[in-house]
Amino acid sequence: MGQIIKIGMADFNTGKNDDILTTLGLGSCIGITLYDPVAKIGGLVHIMLPSSKAIRNNSNPAKFADTGIEFLLKEMLKLGADRSRLVSKIAGGAQMFSFDSKNDIMKIGERNAIATKEKLKELNLPLVSEDIGGTFGRTIELYCETGILVVKTIGHGIKKI
């Protein structure tokens, strides 16, 4: 029997076959999934910030796009995923509040998305689909049997990507 595995903020987990990996209420954060379609192994990390380098309080690798993706990749390989088969899907990176100010932190969703894509590119992990940006929250579910990522919102519909 598959399990529904919940992943909190700045956290990660992996699953197999009919497991479902889910993270609830993504705002400016990004849910990054990796999937091996042959071994049917999936992984999800819920990152909050673009880079671990600029910050003192950086002991948790799952908090940052750069270290989070590397960390998830390692875990996937440990479980027997084949690196050459891995594909990635990402969702989140919204801007929940709009301000006129030039305050950088308010554009954190956008910066998270850019950092995530750069890191995936650097690691040669193909990004096959994404649902990024907007001004609304998302709940996502990765079905490890099929690799389908379901994105649910309030008032902006449900998508399968």
Binding site: G8, L49, A94
Partner: protein, 214 residues
């Protein structure tokens, strides 16, 4: 060393809680004046919580809630956030714009007038909070206009969590319940200070010695 919620001593914490109480009291008085109605308030609960616990208080990460976000700059800087459940937000706006009771539904978004009313109420509440800080400390701060979001609690809270996550994982939360006639409205107020905020605040109140082990 910079003072943060994690490394504050008891006295400093009490000062912070007391400021929270005063701020919430002033905010409520301002609201009652604006509505020209009697508003009763229960003693606000001031707590230091982890963000995770805050999400649970609000009913879980997927719960539909209203968030109002403000920025303040000046001698001290940071952000303020109010959160209300959707039914509480609707009750609150209806106090101001007076709809017939009963059209208040549990679910469903706010309309434009309700949004605007809620932002105005947010202005009053945060303005009163900031001016009580100014009164106590003599420091000047300027408040931005509010930004409103109605969405999943987890998504809305991700904004202060990210902003604050660079400093720590705990937050000062003030939970107030107020009653207008038979209506109960519950609101949450967070202060998300920039680095140095507590140093400046506590120093101005004389509860932080210059130099000593800080």
């Amino acid at each position: 060393m910079t003072i943060s919620i994690e490394n504050m001593d008891h006295m400093q914490m009490d000062v912070l809680k007391e400021i929270g109480n005063i701020g919430a009291g002033n905010a409520m008085t301002a609201l009652a004046q604006m509505l020209n109605k009697k508003v009763d308030m229960s003693v606000p609960k001031v707590e230091i919580l982890e963000f995770k616990e805050v999400v649970e208080l609000l009913g879980g990460p997927e719960e539909l809630v209203c968030g109002l976000y403000f920025r303040f700059d000046g001698d001290m800087a940071g952000n303020i956030m109010f959160m209300f459940s959707l039914p509480s937000a609707k009750l609150l706006t209806n106090l101001l714009i007076w709809k017939e009771n009963n059209q208040i539904q549990d679910r469903g978004d706010l309309d434009d007038i309700e949004r605007s009313a809620l932002q105005e109420i947010g202005n009053i509440l945060s303005g009163a909070y900031i001016s009580s800080l100014t009164m106590l400390t003599g420091l000047n701060m300027k408040l931005s206009i509010p930004s409103l979001a109605v969405d999943m609690a987890g998504a809305i809270l991700s904004v202060p969590i990210i902003q604050y996550g660079q400093v720590g994982d705990k937050v000062l939360l003030i939970e107030t319940e107020f009653h207008q006639e038979d209506k109960d409205i519950k609101g949450f107020f967070f202060l998300i200070p920039d680095l140095e905020f507590y140093d400046i605040l506590l120093k101005s109140l004389g509860v932080l010695d210059n130099g000593s082990n800080n």
